[in-house]
């Protein structure tokens, strides 16, 4: 058992959902209950395997790859099936394993129109495999495959189960992301060739780049290709316009997965691939990434203030929040990157919850127009409370998870890695700090206009407006608990990511001296 876990644990975890999807394929569509059960079981199996791995994980050595598996795959290009888990990937794997089963539980009564639970859940399972695979991949080709596998299920989810403008939104999402991926692939291939065509292994490439002495100019160009791939996925300003459309049109489950996990593929790419492999390129790019990040913070917040639709507002808030994550990364310091990882997890939980709430509000009120809402705390007090806590978490209140992604990123910008312009980053720090005020403004206005006050005439006696249902309880409460627990015990996460991140941070300390 132990050796199975050591050798095959990660692989089993990655492919368990896919196996579930394959089983579902054999079962007729009308047996909806069976489909839901299989979907849930396969994600729970993946989660259970993940939990076993995390129990077995040696946290004292969180900076090293564990449960590594490196096997022959596509020999002709030296691409190998190499997977592993370390302190950087573990939090994100955990996030994915945690959120997806909750999404499936939520789906129990909430299969969006036009129905077809079988296809819908199968897509979620394929997504699941793609997402975990991306986080555990140690080989660039493998990474790329998983990274792209995610694309199609989400495309179908938006295109088939989405809102009125689903066509436009889904194509935009697909092509925009693919556009970035292409550049990323070019960068991967160029990197492979420039380092002697020896390996696609991420750690090996990092060594090769140093030993081959890739010029800064080359590194900058390669980093640029990756930047487009990852930056669009994050998304960073000005490549974010697919996001509000995709989020607004996607079904609730799609929005939750998109916000909770998908966006993190981009930021994860930066800290796992682009920055460690191309440190000198990263130093050149960092001020520009920082600039786009802080523009994103302010721009996203102002965009939120202008929205009249709750879901679109939450979507825009992701642009601002991912700005903090990217700012943290751009500082190239241990504090900043730790904050970024924390920010990813926190944003995943918090914004995921917000999208859940938006979905449930839409279901009850048949609208998300903020002007028409109000008095949620009167009509559905429990849901109002959840909304209240979640908005507080989202605006970065200490004691809740959002804060630990935000403040350390701001703090880190005061003193970025050596070699980066301190003045520039201190300006970013001030801008980012101003962003916290705007974040409070749009979130509290949202809370005020939806939860406070009294219900409007049209909804006051609406029998459809009920408080939280059983599957909402089951799906939301664990997320809420995590938001609070991480808020008070940030060490639970920082202590896992710190070793790996500090090692990364030291590269830049050394580089600057």
């Amino acid at each position: 058992m132990q050796s199975f876990l050591e050798n095959w644990g990660i692989t089993a975890m990655v492919f368990a959902p896919l196996v579930g999807a394959l089983i579902m394929m054999l079962i007729p569509e009308r047996e909806e209950g069976t489909h839901k059960l299989i979907a849930l079981v396969s994600t729970v199996v993946a989660g259970g395997l993940g939990a076993l791995l995390m129990l077995d994980f040696d946290y004292a050595k969180a900076g090293e790859m564990q449960f590594g598996r490196d096997m022959r795959w596509i020999e002709i290009i030296n691409a190998r099936y190499a997977v592993g888990l370390d302190g950087m990937s573990l939090p994100l794997v955990a996030l994915t394993l945690f959120v997806v089963p909750l999404v499936i539980i939520y789906s129990w009564d909430h299969i969006p129109s036009p129905g077809n639970a079988k296809a819908f859940l199968m897509l979620i399972l394929v997504l699941h495999t793609g997402m975990i695979g991306t986080f555990v991949a140690r080989d660039l080709v493998l990474f790329f495959v998983f990274f792209e596998v995610v694309l199609l299920p989400m495309y179908f989810m938006i295109g088939v189960w989405g809102g009125e403008k689903r066509l436009y939104a889904s194509i935009k999402f697909f092509l925009f992301t693919l556009f970035g991926s292409a550049f990323m692939l070019v960068a991967f291939l160029a990197l492979y060739n420039l380092t002697g065509g020896e390996s696609f292994n991420i750690e090996r490439l990092a060594e090769l780049v140093q030993s081959e002495g890739l010029s800064t100019r080359t590194q900058v160009l390669l980093f640029g290709g990756m930047f487009l791939g990852f930056g669009i996925k994050v998304p960073m300003f000005p490549f974010h316009t697919w996001l509000p459309d995709a989020h607004t049109q996607a079904p609730t489950q799609g929005s939750v997965i998109l916000a909770a996990v998908l966006l993190k593929l981009g930021t994860y790419g930066f800290i796992r691939i682009a920055i460690p492999i191309l440190p000198e390129g990263a130093v050149e790019w960092a001020p520009w990434i920082g600039l786009l990040a802080v523009i994103g913070i302010i721009y996203g917040a102002l965009g939120c203030l202008a929205q009249t639709d709750m879901k679109r507002l939450i979507a825009f808030s992701s642009v601002a929040h991912m700005g903090y994550v990217m700012l943290g990364i751009a500082t190239l310091t241990d504090f900043g990157i730790n904050a970024a990882i924390f920010g990813m997890v926190a944003h995943g939980l918090i914004t995921g919850l917000l999208f859940f709430l938006a979905g449930s509000i839409k279901e009850r009120y048949h609208t998300l127009e903020i002007k028409r809402l109000g008095g949620l705390l009167v009509q559905a007090p429990k849901m109002g409370w959840v909304l209240g806590i979640t908005t507080m978490a989202s605006l970065g209140l200490p004691g809740l998870a959002g804060f630990w992604g935000e403040f350390p990123a701001i703090l880190a910008s005061y003193n970025p890695a050596p070699g980066l312009n301190q003045t520039v980053f201190r300006v970013y720090m001030v801008v980012a700090a101003i962003g916290t005020v705007l974040a409070a403004a749009y979130l509290l206005w949202l809370l005020q206009r939806t939860a406070f006050g009294t219900p409007s005439e049209e909804f006051i006696d609406d029998p459809e407006i009920t408080d939280m249902q059983w599957n909402e309880w089951v799906a939301w409460v664990p997320m809420l608990i995590m938001v609070i627990v991480l808020g008070f015990l940030p060490g639970l996460l920082f202590d896992i990511s710190n070793d790996k991140v500090s090692a990364l941070g030291e590269i830049f300390q050394a580089l600057g001296n």
Binding site: A119, L185, V186, L302, F407, I410, A433, T436, V437, G491
Partner: protein
């Protein structure tokens, strides 16, 4: 008074004091509604225990100081500039605990940063160099010597509010071992959470739990039958816990967390009746204004973190500020940033506008949060990091600085606004703004003890006044309008009247009530009056202080006369409130009488032939620890000498101003006992005065600027412009590129091979029906086709780019 072990136990377990209300919050939230008193009993029980512990801690602390003083042969004394003996570094007891030094109990919260073993340390033997100030001269000194005590460190055992657990406490007595606080747990840079017991924090523990307890009791009557009675008590508990958590902070990180948590409790309680938009507006305004100040807090604390060599530890930051390791310029920038946070939290001009609006919350909340405790958080933070401010602003030897100026402006500006209010709570709110300005003014002049003492006395008499106003409103059918619904109430509610009189007298600085002593110390601290000494000669702040002394007496006289004299103008018969309301009033009024005697000047004590030991007790108890190394260092502050003549002059000034107002209303009531102002008074006759009055009524037009111009401008034009840019410019580009590609595709299609391109276009998938077909295809088993298309599409597009780039 206590055995050494008991004292030690108490000091190491003060975390219980915030933990109990935190527990109470959770219990009330989950079980409150099912209990006979709807959760109030849990809240009161937890605060009673917390208060008892706070009292014990207070006495233990005092005992600690007293015994240190009586063991003078063990302690080192230093001749102060005014001939006073000030104890400094206090001798360690057998328990290894320095008397009078802060007692710090910490556990690791989390750690960020590299393994310190790999970090090259500046000095090898740095851990022994605790007293060697030169050892810290290097700014980048990482100071990573390890602490032996934390083997087997395990923060999973944290309890309550997330800290505590006495088996893994790490105790570092700062005065003994100057350097060890700096991030030395195991081998990492760690951020700690814990408790810091010293004079300043013990004083606040007492104040917060005392007033919280009375407010809890008062509230059981005041909000009886409220639609959210249980939630109200839950948030009172959470607030109490968060405030105590902040007060006990050992690190700036903990301080920030506590700071924001009290803010959110304030938000929830201001907006307690959120059905009405005005209330939720006020709550939002409070939160957002505080967020503006928090920009300064986050930045200032970041600056200090790096300036002190990557540490959040408050004692460490203070130490490095005092010994000059942190350059003065850095301290100045940090102090300016932190000042913004003080301005928002402690209602200083120009970020004070939220505080009067915060009166939308229930009155007991106004007393607890928006008068006595939370709003002094900013003042408290100045005291906590006093060396940073003192050196950063160059307080010694100066005649004006940013802090003194803001405090002065606030104290006069806030006092002036109190004159034009007709809502009794608003008067008190502006009075709070004004008095907070007084505290900041004091600290800005280097009168640390005076500022802290005023914080202490103010908490009691202002809570008394607010709760009194609540009692009045209770009698007048929930109105706060002095002009429309009050008047002549002294006949109906004598207990409220007399306690309100005492509170007002204390506020106005009438001897021998509490406010007199603390206000007098502040005025002395300006160093302007002959033979007072002080840190500088603060002429302008002194003038501000004197004006405020006069104004305070005047507006309180106006309030009392409008409320309690003349004839009742409301409807129905008013009535005295019940015992649960009047008892807290009487207790607070009693405190307003006596607490001033805690810090009598020694001259006064001698004059009455009282034992010398009764003089400046507050100073001895509160001061030595929080700033012990500071008081005695070369950069430190000095105490001003009290002046009888100044006390007399200031008192006469207040009496005259108050007397003039009383004369005005007596004359008015003689004409018409129901009038509230002269119909053809000077205000309406002289244009200049009328304009001034209007200026005050409009609150200096600041709300127009903030809500109208800044918030409205951001929410309106700026946000809309951003959205327009997004929808038209950015998306225009994206859509344009899309259309261009389609055009290009068609062009190529017509020229090159039709079939190949056909596959790509379909593969990219451009319609929902197309998507549906794919899915149907997949379901009917045509997986191969799906997979081919999926990878094919990706590969083809990627290939195009590869060859194109």
């Amino acid at each position: 008074m206590f055995a050494a072990e008991e004292v030690s136990w108490l000091f190491r377990n003060v975390w219980l004091i915030p933990a109990l209300p935190a527990l109470s919050f959770v219990l009330i939230l989950f079980f409150g509604k099912r209990l006979p008193f709807k959760g109030a009993e849990i809240g009161i029980a937890s605060v009673v225990v917390a208060f008892s512990l706070a009292v014990l801690t207070t006495f233990a602390w005092i005992g600690n100081i007293q015994s240190a003083e009586s063991h003078s042969e063990e302690a080192i004394f230093l001749e102060g500039p005014d001939g006073e003996q000030t104890p400094i570094v206090l001798t360690a007891e057998e328990a290894g605990e320095a008397r009078g030094a802060p007692i710090i109990t910490e556990v690791e919260w989390f750690s960020i940063g590299p393994d310190a073993n790999k970090v090259i340390l500046g000095t090898e033997g740095n851990s022994d160099a605790g007293h060697d100030e030169d050892g810290h001269s290097d700014d980048e000194d990482e100071d990573g010597h390890s602490d032996d005590e934390d083997a087997g460190h395990d923060d999973d055992e944290e309890e309550g509010a997330g800290f505590g657990g006495d088996d893994n406490v790490v105790d570092v007595a700062f005065a003994e071992d100057g350097g060890t606080v700096a991030e030395a747990h195991g081998d990492r840079f760690s951020i700690s959470i814990g408790t810091l017991v010293d004079g300043q924090s013990v004083m606040m523990l007492f104040v917060v739990t005392f007033i919280s307890l009375l407010v809890h009791v008062y509230s059981t009557d005041y909000v009886k039958g409220d639609r959210r009675f249980t939630h109200y008590f839950a948030f009172l508990s959470l607030f109490t816990s968060a405030m105590l958590f902040m007060v006990l902070s050992t690190s700036t990180m903990q301080l920030i967390v506590g700071w924001e948590l009290v803010g959110v409790c304030s938000f929830a309680l201001i907006g307690h009746w959120w059905e009405e938009k005005a209330n939720s507006d006020a709550a939002l305004k409070a939160f957002l204004t505080n967020r503006v100040g928090d920009i300064g807090l986050l930045i200032g604390m970041s600056i200090l973190y790096f300036a002190a060599g990557r540490t959040f530890s408050i004692p460490r930051i203070n130490e490095l500020a005092v010994n000059g390791t942190i350059p003065k310029g850095t301290l100045t920038i940090a102090a300016v940033c932190l000042m913004a946070a003080v301005m928002s939290k402690s209602g200083q001009f120009i970020l004070h506008t939220w505080l009067p609006d915060a009166m939308a919350g229930p009155t007991p909340v106004s007393a607890l949060i928006h008068a006595a405790t939370m709003v002094v958080a900013g003042v408290y933070m100045i005291g906590r990091l006093y060396p940073v401010f003192f050196i950063g602003f160059g307080i010694a030897g100066s005649s004006i600085n940013l802090m003194a100026f803001i405090g002065g402006l606030t104290t006069v500006g806030g006092g002036a606004l109190a004159f034009v209010q007709k809502d009794i709570k608003k008067v008190l709110a502006y009075s709070t703004v004004s008095q907070l300005g007084y505290m900041v003014l004091a600290l800005g002049m280097g009168a640390y003890t005076a500022g802290m003492f005023h914080l202490f006395t103010h908490a009691f008499f202002k809570a008394c006044l607010f709760l009194g106003a609540g009692s009045v409103s209770h009698a007048c059918h929930h109105s706060f309008d002095m002009k429309a619904d009050m008047g002549g109430l002294r006949k109906y509610m004598p207990k409220t009247f007399w306690t309100f009189m005492i509170g007002s007298g204390a506020l106005a600085g009438i001897p021998p009530l509490a406010g007199f002593w603390s206000k007098d110390e502040i005025l002395v601290g300006a160093g302007v009056w002959p033979n007072t000494g002080g840190n500088g000669t603060y002429y302008l702040p002194f003038v501000f202080g004197m004006i405020t002394a006069a104004m305070t007496a005047a507006y309180m006289a106006r309030t009392i006369w409008l409320t309690f004299f003349g004839e009742y103008r409301g409807h129905d018969e008013p009535h005295e409130s019940g015992a649960r309301i009047t008892t807290p009033l009487i207790i607070l009024a009693g405190m307003a009488v006596v607490v001033g005697f805690l810090n009598m000047p020694s001259g006064f004590v001698k004059f009455f032939g009282a034992p010398e030991g009764l003089a400046h007790r507050f100073e001895d108890w509160v001061e030595p620890a929080g700033v012990s190394t500071f008081v005695t260092s070369d950069n430190g502050f000095t105490h001003a000498k009290p002046s009888l003549s100044l006390a007399i002059v200031a008192t006469l000034l207040a009496l005259t101003a108050g007397g003039a107002v009383v004369a005005y209303y007596r004359a008015l009531y003689a004409k018409d006992s129901k009038a509230t102002e002269y119909t053809d008074g000077v205000m309406s006759r002289i244009p200049g005065l009328r304009a001034g009055h209007k200026f005050l009524e409009e609150k200096y037009y600041l709300d127009h600027l903030y809500t109208g111009a800044i918030a409205g401008g951001t929410k309106g034009p700026l946000a809309r412009a951003t959205d327009w840019f997004n929808q038209n410019v950015l998306d225009g580009i994206v859509n344009g590129v899309g259309k261009l590609s389609v055009g290009l595709g068609n062009f190529i299609y017509n020229i090159i091979d039709q079939k190949a391109i056909d596959g790509v276009v379909n593969g990219s998938g451009n319609s929902a029906s197309g998507a549906g077909q794919f899915l149907r295809g997949m379901q009917t088993g045509q997986v191969r086709q799906y997979a081919t298309l999926m990878f094919g599409a990706t590969a083809v597009v990627a290939a195009i780019f590869i060859f194109a780039v």
